[in-house]
Amino acid sequence: MLKRVFVLALVLSLGACASVPMSSDAEDSADKRFEPPAAGRSALYIYRETIFGVAAEKGRASVTAGRRVIAN
């Protein structure tokens, strides 16, 4: 028998298989352009700290303004 110890590592990578065609600079800028909301409305950005989206799926996360839940 071969006297070696092998290591099999299961790894989690943020960059795995992420080879996709990239937009041009002009398209990138256009996509990121912020259009102010109409009068009487506001825009809300949600920033997800974890890379696992499950916890933020509908029904598992709440959005609060102060102590008031405004979305589930």
Binding site: M1, R4, F6, V7, A9
Partner: protein
């Protein structure tokens, strides 16, 4: 990672066997990294160096001991797909499991142009249990599918008839198995 990880492992005294991304059984952000070391202490000290990449955010290591294969530490270089199949058996079933495996490989490998690169034991699972990793290369997913037991049993494939009885009997002495299919990165 293939180049930097391999260099880091070599610098630490190990042998880099490769990186595989999941085709079946892993998330799109998961992969498998294989390396070989002279002993468990060297493995624990050095294996992390293969993973010293800013792209890798988490890892889980399994220490494995060769059984009947590999007989040398040459890294696998064949193209195609690689099956990482884990079996769990009773320790008492190991002699039969081993004999059935090596017997089947005689016709399985030429019948499907497959290569068994390793049948490893998980060091973390001691007797009376035995957990094994069977590491096999196939030319393609089509060949892997063709070689499945159900295809053999249906009589739809006769590439390795002598392997049929052995692999079926091996399944009978196994408590469970699961497979991950990877492609070389």
């Amino acid at each position: 990672m293939k180049t930097e990880g391999a260099r880091a492992v070599a610098d630490a005294g190990g042998i880099f066997w490769g990186v595989w991304w999941g085709l079946i059984g892993l998330a799109s952000t998961q992969g498998l990294v294989f390396s070989a070391w002279k002993d468990a202490d060297a493995a624990l000290a050095g294996a992390g160096k293969a993973l010293a990449s800013p792209d890798i955010v988490d890892s889980t290591l399994e220490l494995l001991e060769p059984t009947v294969r590999p007989t040398d530490h040459t890294p696998p270089a064949r193209r195609g797909v690689y099956a990482f199949r884990t079996f769990e058996i009773a320790e008492a079933a190991w002699p039969e499991f081993s004999a059935l495996s090596t017997g089947a490989w005689k016709t399985f490998e030429p019948g499907y142009d497959a290569r068994i690169f390793g049948l490893f034991r998980y060091l973390a699972v001691p007797p009376p249990r035995r957990r094994l990793l069977l590491f096999t290369n196939y030319p393609s997913m089509a060949v892997w599918e063709k070689s499945r037991l159900r295809q053999l049993h249906r009589g739809g494939d006769d590439s390795a008839p002598a392997a049929k009885a052995n692999l079926s009997a091996r399944l009978d002495v196994s408590d469970w198995s699961r497979v991950v299919i990877g492609v070389p990165a």
